[in-house]
Structures are given as structure tokens and as C-alpha cells.
Symmetry: C2
Subunit: 415 residues, 2 copies
């Protein structure tokens, strides 16, 4: 990896060699960060080269990624997700230049595919044929799917409360799923013990610094899809902090390599019922306090975030705006995305958009500002909450008179 200098601890600054299976800092236990040689990257890749690149996946940015030149790249087409000018949504929100980055359009239907595709490459570089994690959500399903395509085995630990649908998706991808009769803590503990005992590759975000490098590709794509003319703001939902930290890393990498000459401000959006990172960021401190997990947006219901330091620093460095939104505001944003733009988001996927709406209403961002809102996961992932958001259809017998009555009652113009 000639483009990589090493892995540096975000706490004590310790610099170590970036071997494929590093986790936390061997000196202090802090989370590591991959450090690049930007002169080398600049010599290898320019925006003009990208214009000729016909790899429309996250791997078009290999020069910015910590993978060995000889590594086999994953088979599933992760990344290069759709990017839309959202004129009608912008009108509703009062923004002239609003864009949607729809990362629900990925092989397993969430942004997490970017991290899992990276995990698969690094596991293979480490000579491992088994990858493991504990999770019930998008991280687990993306790992299972991307590993299946590469022919790697996965062991995934879930708490017994995990929804059957999500477990079925894991089983379908051939994961060995261990449903632990106990809490999430019990589940995590057993997974850690098993990973340690059998030497499996560890795909637990935060402690594996490579995963964030995969996630940062969403930022690289946003920049390229805007022809490297950067927006004023990028809005994204925040759970354990890895995704927003990845987004920020991506923009910083592009800036350092001379691809862009402006950094956007981040709009960090959490659910009001679970916002430990935003609470700290708003107080301009990295000291955060655990919170209960009171939100229906399960993918970001993280009361004890695993990557708070990188996330809070990202918000701070970008002169970002922490915004918290209620569950009602999240459901309303799901409806807005669907009705104005044909984008179906899961609750956490629409949370960024809910934050943009609120920030405009609070006068925190200007109506002339250019804003990108990232949809992180597909609404089909959580049909129950879609039902909650969507409302009820007109229900009538199959007669024209009854249809006319129903339209009149509803005030529906039907033309």
C-alpha cells in the first residue's frame, strides 16, 4: 500500500504499520485512523483520470483506499449510488439547491455495504476465510452479502430480540447466525470471545479502522457527482459515529490531495430520543454521556456510541451543525422523500433530510445554500415503520358511486 503511511492513534498519536488486521492502538487502546501520502495519491490519480474511469463502483477511488494493489476486489457492485437534484423536495424545504445521495441503492440496500466490501478485501489480505461481527442491522446483512459473493464464511452474533426478517436475510446469505438468549451486551461478549478464540477477521466498526475508509467513498462520490464543486452543507444521520466520521475523512482526503478547494459543513442529525454525540458536539466537548435509546430509527439508536471521538471531531472541524429531530419529524421526512422524489428511505435513512428541514426552519442554514442529504438505507428494510408513516388508503366496495363519494369526502380532485 504505497499510498498509506500507517495507522495513527486518534488518542495518543502513536503511528503503527497498517497491517490488514489492526484494531485499536496497541499502546493506549484508542481508535486508529489510516494516514495517507497525498503526494503519492495526487501523482496516481487526478479528476481527469476519473472522467475516463469505467469502474462505476466505490473501487474507482482505489488510489484513496487502503488496499494492496494485488488484492482481488469484491464482486458485488457497491457504491456509485444515485445522486439526484431534488427540485421538488427543495421547493418544499425552501432550498434552491438541494441534492439527494441515495445509498439505499446498494447490493444489500444500505451505505454499510461500503464498509463490508472493504472488510472482505482486508480479511482476504489478512489470509482469513472467516469474518465475524455482532449486530442485528445493516452492518450484519451487508457483511453476510459481501462475504458470500467473495466465498468467505461469516459468523454473526445477534441478540434473541433481533427481528426475524433481518435474521432471515443473514441466513439467506449463508451466514452462520448465533442467536444469543440474552442482552446485546451478552451477544457482543460472546462474539468477542469467539473472534479471539478462533482468530476470525473482526468486522466490528470503530475498532477496525478500515471500515471507515470504505464508508468515506460516499463523500468521494458526492464530490465527483458535483464535478468537484463542493456544496455548502452535507447532512447525514448519526448513530455510532463511524459514518459521519467516514464522510468527513473522505472530504478531507480530497482536499488534501487537491481535488477540491472547499470543505462542506456537516449537518449531523440524531434522533432527539438518543443523541449523545450531538449533545457533546453542541457543547463543544468530546466528553459525552450515554443516553437511552428512545427512537424508532433503529439503525441510529446507539446510546453508547463506539466512535464518538472521531464523530465529534468531524462535526467540530467542519464547523458543523448538530440537529436533533423527533420520531414524528423522521416519519414526516420519509413521506417527503417518497412523495417529492420517489426515494423510499428507512427511518435512519430519512433522518438526515429531517435535519435539513429543521435547520432551514430554525434559520440555521440559508435558503440559497447548496445542500446534499444522504439517504443511508432503503425503506424496504423496515416496512413496519413505513406503515406507521404512510397512513391509510381509501377503502370502498367496487362501485363507482362509492368512489365518487370517497373522493368528495376526501376533497380529492382526481384530475
Amino acid at each position: 500500500m504505497k499510498n498509506v503511511i500507517g495507522a495513527r492513534c486518534t488518542v495518543c498519536g502513536n503511528l503503527i504499520e497498517a497491517t490488514p488486521n489492526i484494531t485499536v492502538c496497541p499502546r493506549c487502546g484508542g481508535i486508529m485512523d489510516i494516514e495517507y501520502d497525498y503526494d503519492y495519491i495526487r501523482a496516481k490519480l487526478t479528476p481527469y483520470d476519473l472522467m475516463d474511469c469505467d469502474d462505476f463502483s466505490m473501487w474507482r477511488y482505489k488510489a484513496f483506499l487502503p488496499v494492496e494493489g494485488k488484492s482481488t476486489l469484491p464482486k458485488l457492485r457497491v457504491g456509485w449510488s444515485p445522486f439526484y437534484k431534488a427540485g421538488r423536495l427543495g421547493e418544499v424545504l425552501g432550498l434552491k439547491n438541494l441534492y439527494i445521495k441515495d445509498d439505499g441503492i446498494n447490493p444489500t440496500s444500505s451505505l454499510k455495504d461500503r464498509a463490508s466490501a472493504m472488510a472482505v478485501v482486508k480479511a482476504e489480505e489478512a489470509g482469513k476465510s472467516i469474518i465475524a461481527c455482532s449486530s442485528t442491522g445493516n452492518a450484519a446483512s451487508s457483511l453476510a452479502g459481501n462475504a458470500a459473493a467473495a466465498g468467505l464464511k461469516t459468523y454473526i452474533f445477534v441478540p434473541e430480540r433481533a427481528p426475524k426478517g433481518k435474521v432471515a436475510q443473514l441466513m439467506m446469505f449463508g451466514a452462520t447466525v448465533i442467536s444469543v438468549q440474552g442482552s446485546y451486551e451478552d451477544t457482543f461478549r460472546l462474539s468477542a470471545e469467539a473472534i479471539d478464540r478462533w482468530g476470525w477477521y473482526n468486522r466490528n466498526a470503530a475498532i477496525n479502522p478500515y471500515l471507515m475508509e470504505g464508508k468515506k467513498t460516499v463523500a468521494l462520490e458526492i464530490a465527483e457527482q458535483l464535478h468537484f464543486q463542493m456544496p455548502d452543507y452535507v447532512a447525514i444521520s448519526v448513530g455510532d459515529g463511524c459514518t459521519i466520521a467516514g464522510v468527513w475523512k473522505g472530504f478531507k482526503d480530497l482536499y488534501a490531495a487537491g481535488f477540491i478547494n472547499k470543505l462542506p459543513r456537516l449537518i449531523a442529525v440524531q434522533a432527539s430520543g438518543c443523541c449523545p454525540i450531538n449533545t457533546a458536539a453542541a457543547a463543544h466537548t468530546t466528553e459525552w454521556t450515554p443516553q437511552p435509546e428512545n427512537t424508532l430509527a433503529d439503525s441510529i439508536a446507539v446510546g453508547v456510541p463506539r466512535n464518538p471521538l472521531k464523530a465529534i471531531r468531524a462535526i467540530e472541524e467542519s464547523n458543523g451543525i448538530p440537529v436533533n429531530v423527533s420520531d414524528e419529524e423522521i416519519l414526516a421526512a420519509m413521506r417527503l422523500l417518497g412523495r417529492t422524489s420517489g426515494v423510499f428511505a428507512e427511518p435512519a435513512g430519512a433522518t438526515g433530510t429531517a435535519g435539513v428541514k429543521k435547520a432551514v426552519e430554525m434559520g440555521l442554514i440559508d435558503k440559497d445554500a447548496s445542500v446534499v442529504t444522504v439517504v443511508t438505507g432503503n425503506g424496504l428494510k423496515d416496512v413496519n415503520n413505513a406503515i406507521k408513516a404512510a397512513g391509510e388508503p381509501i377503502s370502498i366496495p367496487g362501485e363507482m358511486d362509492r368512489l365518487l363519494e370517497a373522493f368528495e369526502k376526501k376533497g380529492d380532485p382526481h384530475r
Copy 2:
């Protein structure tokens, strides 16, 4: 539309002008087919032009599509879905050259987006701002999503038995959903009456010949993704017949325009519990008989197909192979796609693959043959059947000893 000669009736041969709102033949009621000027197309587009085309959506093939030059193209990124060499699945099936076309990766997660995107363009050309259809499945959700992105209204009629999740998806896209207390027939009848009464644009497949033209783009993509070196076989599931007819039309168009010099044979796959089209095709007749709808693959459970003639002719003309598969074989194919390839298909989406497996086992296709299997819809569309297919996880308390016991009992090597 300088590339279009007109619309010709598939029954009586009547040729009429291809106005945006044609439905069935005004003379005999037969289904119409769009006819092209291939010399004109050949002069407008070559395979070399496509190498420079940076529109990675179905609209890269505009020269082959019946849309006005000045028409606004839809906003959602429909098409250019992933195409994978399926080495591991091929090994299991005993095929050296097997490919997967994953059309579950589309804005509303099914191949039907191709038809609905076309419907939106044609509705706008017809000066309509409302589109209607009766359906509970992928046609309805794709119409609602694509219309929402274009700012058109949709009225969608569903029978009251429609699953709540699917109705929620429609409501989320802002469709006016009319749930009819009665059978599907009652629903269809009311929708037809309402479409007629208010002059809404009619998106009911089969009778609107443009929809098939949208669907054919999946064939154009398969050809281009194989660099116009055609495979021996293309396998696809068959319900009302519109999709397989569209696929065949796409290949024939490419052949007529000189883009390819070989036509693939179609493997037409239906569920054993509902296979009126294959039953007729196997007997080399276009006379078909209605059948009950006994299959869990709801998207192809069509006992009274709406486009049998075009479908049966497509199978016949391609020297195709009709194959019927049981529900168990469909569930097994879902597992196979997931475990070997990281592709999560709904039952109808995996039916083509089930047919390929069976055709190889029956010795109908050679092990050296090149085969493309089309996945028509995403597994997240039908989580209940995924649960049925996937099996149960290992369930234990959070203790290493119990994990060891479970692994031993299961014979899991965990390494």
C-alpha cells in the same frame, strides 16, 4: 419519434400511428407492438457510441426507445443494473459460464421500474398529469415511485387482500390508493371505469405497448455488458408474459440493427402451480388455458396472463425452453443465489435461476453453454418467504461452552 414506424397489431397486423396513449388495436382489440426503422437507429447509434455514453441508465438506449426527442427523461436512475459473472453459483449448477443480471437493484427494487419509467414519459407526452393502474405488486410500487419523482399523480387500485407493506410503499410515494372491498376482478373493473371516466393515463401492462419497450432495456444491457458477445441462453421467470416478451423484443431489436449477430434461446420459467404460458409453449400452440394460482411466487402467480401471445411467440421464435419449477425449487434457488453470490431475490426473482438448475439437471442445456439468469426483484420485497426459505439460526445462551456444543452438534467447523 423518427425511429418509430408505428404500432402494429399482433393479431390482425393493422398498423397505426404510435401516439402516446394507444392501447389495444382499434380494429380487432389485439395487443399492439411498436415497430422501428432499424436503418434510422443504425445511423443514430453504434456500439462504439455506447462506449462513450456516460448515461448509465436505461435511457442510454434512447435510439431504441419510443420517446420523443424533446421529452423530459425521468429523474430516477432506472436500469444499468449490476451484471455479475457467477463463478460460484455456476460451479454448484455445473455451468462454466453463468451470469447474473440483478434487476432487484433499481429505484423501487424490481425490473418493473423500466416499464414505469417509460409510462411516466409517455403520460407526459400525452399531456396527462395522472397515471393509474390496478395491481398490488411491483408494477404499482414502481409506478408510484417513478411518477412521484416526476411530479405526476397516481391513482392505484388494489384488492383489499393486498399486503399492508406493499400498500404502505404506495402511500409513501404519495399514490392515492383505493383499496377495493372485493376480488381482483372487482378492483380491475373499477379502475378501468375510473380511467375511462377521468381520462387518466393507463399503466396496465400488456394493453399499453410502450411498457414492454421499457422492459426490453434489460436485454439491451445484458448484450452490452457482455460486449455484444451473446450468450447461448437467457433465463427469466414468466407471469403475465410482458417481461419475457420485452426481453425477446430487445434482443430482436439489437439483431435487426446489427449490434449482435446471434440471438440467445430463452429459458422461460414458470411455477409448476401456475404455468399456463409454458403449458401452451411446450405444446407449440398459442391456445392456452387459465390455471389456478398455486405458488408462493406472487409476482408470477398469473393464472389468466394478459400477454400470452407475445410471450408464447417469444419462446417459440427463440427456440426456447419452457421449464416449470416447484415452490421448493424456488426457495432453494433463493438460498443458492444468496449463499453463492450475495444476491437476495424475491421468489419470482429467483425463479429463473431455479429453472436454469432444473434445465441443467434434466440435460436440456449443455454444461459448456453460456447462460444469463435475470433476477427480477429484490428479496426485501417479500420477507415472509425469505424467512420460509432461510431456516433457523443457532439459538443458545451467551456462554462459550454452549457455543462449542452447538457447533459440535451441527458439525460446524468454525474455521
